[in-house]
């Protein structure tokens, strides 16, 4: 049995993020909350504030306190995992196991929210709506959220990686054929690749990675927010 190279990257990112989070939380605990934040804390507090406001908009004040840490983890982990391919490593999100587990956690949160606000009777009755014949459809529909969320992220990142490999292969072939015009018949340095690749890396890795993170995070928030009654979301009840 061989170990995929993705696994090493997954472990590397997890360890690095864990160390960074532990160090930063120690730093935050040491600082005086009444003083103005300095140095590296400024952008972090700013990001936490923006994400918290966004979560409050979608799920309401009450749930936001519980949900914000998870949303922040999703932002940091998925965005770093999508853009790590800029450093020549393979993206962990191009591995279905990773995205399936992320989608599984989101799916679990959605089910817990439904159970909490509809009760176990309402949750089970939801399978028979609008008519009892729809039972198999509703069971498939419950799990389709998990499948579609995981495969969306996985497919987008994997296709970006495959596209970049194809571009490098094509430019290598073009470089070889241009060099052979000048009598150099062996393999040469891929000199067209560095001219074409940067803009494509900016699109497939940075832009697409950011958009897919945004979509995953927004979907998590909206789907959880949909199961919370309007009164609770607006803070009336």
């Amino acid at each position: 049995m061989t170990i995929q190279s993705d696994v090493y990257v997954i472990i590397l990112i997890t360890v690095l993020l864990g160390v960074a989070i532990v160090l930063l939380s120690k730093k935050i605990q040491k600082t005086d909350p009444l003083q103005k934040p300095t140095g590296v804390l400024v952008p972090i507090l700013w990001a936490v504030d923006i994400v918290h406001k966004n979560v409050v908009n979608n799920v309401g004040e009450k749930t936001a306190d519980v949900l914000t840490p998870y949303i922040l983890v999703l932002w940091v982990y998925i965005f770093i995992a999508n853009t790590i391919s800029l450093f020549g490593l393979s993206s962990p999100t191009a591995n279905l196991s990773v995205t399936l587990f992320l989608a599984f956690v989101t799916w679990l949160l959605i089910q817990i929210t439904e159970l909490k606000y509809q009760g176990i009777k309402g949750y089970l009755h939801g399978f028979l709506e609008p008519i009892a014949v729809m039972l198999p459809m509703n069971i498939v529909g419950k799990f389709s959220t998990m499948v579609s969320m995981s495969v969306r992220l996985f497919g987008n990142i994997l296709c970006g990686g495959i596209m970049m490999q194809l571009v490098y292969a094509a430019t290598q072939g073009l470089s070889n054929s241009i060099a052979s015009l000048f009598g150099n018949s062996g393999g040469v340095f891929n000199f067209i690749g560095p001219l074409v690749a940067p803009i494509l890396h900016a699109y497939f890795d940075l832009f697409s990675g950011f958009i897919q993170t945004l979509v995953f995070v927004t979907l998590t928030m909206v789907l959880i927010g949909n199961d919370i009654p309007e009164e609770v979301r607006n803070g009336i009840a």
């Binding site: 966004n54 908009n57 979608n58 389709s144 579609s148 495969v151 969306r152 497919g155 296709c159 945004l214 979509v215 927004t218 979907l219 928030m221 909206v222 789907l223």
Partner: protein, 79 residues
């Protein structure tokens, strides 16, 4: 070349054609969302999250097409 390999490739190509109309639909959704933001700039964040939800739901069709084509290419030949 084995003819089965070619047939599998054609099947995989047909499967990703599920994304053809999805692209059109998503573009229309984004265009209407832009219209709505133009009419109601203060509702931008609500429109954006609703647009992403709608686009993501309609994208599911394209994703299932991609899934089927990946299964056809990598899983089906090894059966």
């Amino acid at each position: 070349m084995d003819i089965n390999k070619g047939l599998i490739a054609i099947g995989a190509g047909l499967a990703v054609m599920a994304g053809m109309m999805t692209g059109l639909g998503e573009g229309m959704a984004a265009a209407h969302a832009c219209d709505a933001i133009g009419k109601n700039p203060e509702a931008e964040s609500k429109i954006r999250s609703n647009m992403i939800l709608g686009i993501a739901l309609s994208e599911t069709v394209a994703i299932y097409g991609l899934l089927v084509s990946i299964l056809l290419m990598f899983v089906y030949p090894s059966l």
